[in-house]
């Protein structure tokens, strides 16, 4: 009895120590800093400074709007892509190639990929040249320094998370359920909306939550593609920590973003649970 107990304690202990050292400790430091003043006294002044200032609410609104739009665009593009990979591709070698194409960009730094988009989306970039050449637009569209530019960058970078999550969910659906639906007289579209889609919701929600969290906390992509014209919340935090060195104010900003995003995710997953059964 004693030996397995010790093994279990050892195994759990390792992860507990790791978790405590690299997650709980830094979070505690940040949280404590956020409720302290410069001289170490407890105060909620930092939070008052954030929440009573319209500017912060404006930045939060931009941040969450970008997060929501990234998630929606990611789902609209990612779901069909996942469907294609799981349901349409019959040749497993081609499916593997597609998945590698999807994952390989994740091995490259965010910075490199965001710079790539800066080049592509620039005034004389490939995208504008193609649009002008095809006659779709009269003159180059300004992408850099607009929310659209940031959105394009974020969707591109976060798309694999949706595709993999939805794809995994779709692959797990028992195909006899769809056959049963067809057998009961449901057209393919009715089968999709009544059986396949509801059963893929858990995977979709997991992917969407992940993408939303990553999008609202993203720093590099918005920073590079904003051209200094748009500010998202993570950029405020970065400024406080790296330029102003106000760890108390920066900590309060971090905790604000964390609490608000967790609250949103909690609401979203409650909705997902209710719909997903």
């Amino acid at each position: 009895m004693a030996a397995p107990y010790r093994t279990v304690a050892l195994l759990i202990g390792g992860s507990v120590i790791f978790f405590a050292a690299f997650f709980v400790a830094p979070m505690t430091v940040v949280a404590l800093a956020s409720i302290s003043s410069k001289d170490g006294a407890l105060t909620l002044a930092q939070y008052a400074r954030i929440l009573l200032d319209q500017y912060h609410w404006d930045v939060l609104w931009v941040t969450f709007r970008l997060g929501a739009l990234t998630t929606i665009a990611g789902v609209l593009i990612g779901y069909p892509l996942a469907w294609y990979l799981v349901r349409v591709v019959r040749w497993s070698a081609w499916r593997r190639v597609c998945i590698i194409l999807l994952i390989v960009p994740l091995f490259t730094s965010n910075i490199v990929r965001s710079f790539g988009w800066m080049v592509l989306l620039g005034r004389n970039g490939l995208v504008n040249e193609a649009l002008v050449a095809s006659g779709l637009v009269g003159r180059p569209i300004r992408f850099l320094g607009t929310e659209l530019g940031i959105l394009i960058g974020l969707v591109y970078i976060l798309l694999p998370f949706i595709v993999l999550s939805v794809g995994n969910g779709l692959a797990k659906i028992d195909e006899t359920l769809e056959q049963a639906s067809a057998d009961l007289g449901a057209r393919p579209s009715a089968t999709f909306w009544n059986v396949t889609f509801p059963l893929s919701l858990p995977g979709l929600m997991a992917g969407a939550v992940m993408v939303f969290m990553l999008a609202i906390s993203a720093y590099v992509t918005p920073a590079l593609l904003s051209g200094g014209r748009i500010t998202v919340f993570s950029m405020l935090i970065f400024q406080q920590y790296s330029s102003v060195f106000d760890f108390n104010y920066g900590g309060a900003l971090s905790i604000t973003l964390l609490v608000l995003s967790l609250a949103l995710v909690a609401v979203a997953s409650r909705i997902g649970e209710a719909r997903g059964g």
Binding site: Q179, A180, A182, D183, L184, G185, G276, G277
Partner: protein, 353 residues
């Protein structure tokens, strides 16, 4: 005569060049209960899936009530299926599962729910509408799957080994209930099973399949009494397979041990086997006088199964089993004893192979 409800005509199906069904022809009448019986891999489920529309055959036709449905999508076919794993929708409760078909046919929400309730009452699950499939036992899930199919009032119901997940006792009960329900509703059932007893209990006619072909179609008793091939004789019920030889003069003799028994009415061909059912053998201590045929055997094992005894014995290099009532077993019939296995030559059935 009206056209049969289901008509399968020279159907073939192959997977990756491997032939799975070869030249299948079969008709099912209105309200008939037909069992597709065979060992696993014999193609019975593939045939069912061709009828349901989940597979499109390479050649041949499937007609339902005179209409060719061979290439029709499953959702356009006037039939329903009870799947082997039931395939209940896990995200819908029992009522919504059963109401799924009526809803797709355009019934209103209340009407579909009322019809679902009727169907659930029919299968004895009237109070289970609000439950989810994962909250039901295997037997209850099986009933929901049945209710979900019959609520659509199909002309034809396909059942893919629907009882294989149930334990023996429950299976026996459900077999009888299913048969009663089928007679009450007058729906034609095509029932896939690998269990010959199940097929015998329920089906009006049995289609014995092997290796993608139909071996024999007929009533259970007829197939049992007059199997057309060695495979059918072996698969349906227990059988003693006794080798026969055809003499130069064309007469067939059964060669068991040193006993040579002349036989009549054998099919053509030189390789023949006589099928002798275990219950047709009588065990005697003395060689019977008169017309009955008999050969000497050594008793190897006596197994008591309920009120019956199964006696395993040997005559030369041929092993035989017989089944008798326990109380009919003579005291002298014990392991190691010598006895005579007697039978009426008329109970023999001779097949090729």
């Amino acid at each position: 005569m009206t056209s049969p409800l289901l008509e399968i005509d020279a159907l073939t199906k192959a997977f990756g060049g491997q032939s799975v069904l070869t030249d299948i022809s079969l008709t099912v009448a209105q309200g008939e209960f037909v069992a597709l019986l065979g060992p696993s891999g014999c193609g019975k489920t593939t045939l069912l899936r061709c009828i349901a529309g989940f597979l499109i055959p390479e050649s041949g036709h499937v007609r339902i009530a005179g209409t060719d449905v061979t290439a029709l999508a499953p959702y356009r076919r006037p039939l329903n299926t009870v799947f082997q794993n039931y395939a209940l929708f896990p995200h819908l409760n029992v009522t919504d599962n059963v109401a799924y078909g009526p809803r797709r046919q355009g019934a209103s929400r209340t009407e579909a729910a009322a019809r679902a309730q009727d169907a659930l009452t029919l299968v004895g699950l009237a109070d289970f509408g609000a439950r989810f499939p994962r909250e039901l036992s295997g037997g209850q899930q099986q009933r929901v799957a049945l209710a979900r199919a019959i609520v659509n009032k199909p002309m034809l119901l396909l059942l893919d080994e629907p009882l294989s997940a149930l334990d023996l006792k429950l299976r026996k009960r459900v077999q009888l209930e299913l048969k009663q329900l089928q007679e009450k509703l007058g729906i034609a059932f095509v029932f896939v099973t690998h269990d010959q007893e199940e097929a015998m209990t329920m089906a009006d006619r049995i289609v014995v399949m092997n290796g993608g072909r139909i071996e024999q179609i007929g009533r259970g008793q007829d197939i049992y009494r007059a199997p057309r091939s060695r495979f059918v004789a072996d698969f349906i019920g227990d059988a003693n397979m006794l080798p026969c030889v055809r003499a130069a003069d064309g007469r067939v003799t059964m060669a068991v041990g040193s006993a040579l028994i002349p036989l009549g009415g054998a099919p053509a061909g030189s390789d023949l086997t006589a099928v002798l059912r275990p219950e047709d053998i009588m065990l005697m201590r003395e060689r019977p006088a008169g017309g009955a045929a008999a050969f000497p055997v050594a008793i190897e094992k006596v197994i008591h199964v309920g009120s019956d005894a199964i006696v395993v014995m040997r005559c030369g290099d041929v092993a035989l089993t017989c089944r008798v009532r326990s109380e009919a077993l003579d005291d002298g019939i014990a392991v190691g004893a010598q006895a005579f296995a007697a039978f009426d030559p008329a109970s023999l059935h001779i097949v090729a192979g």
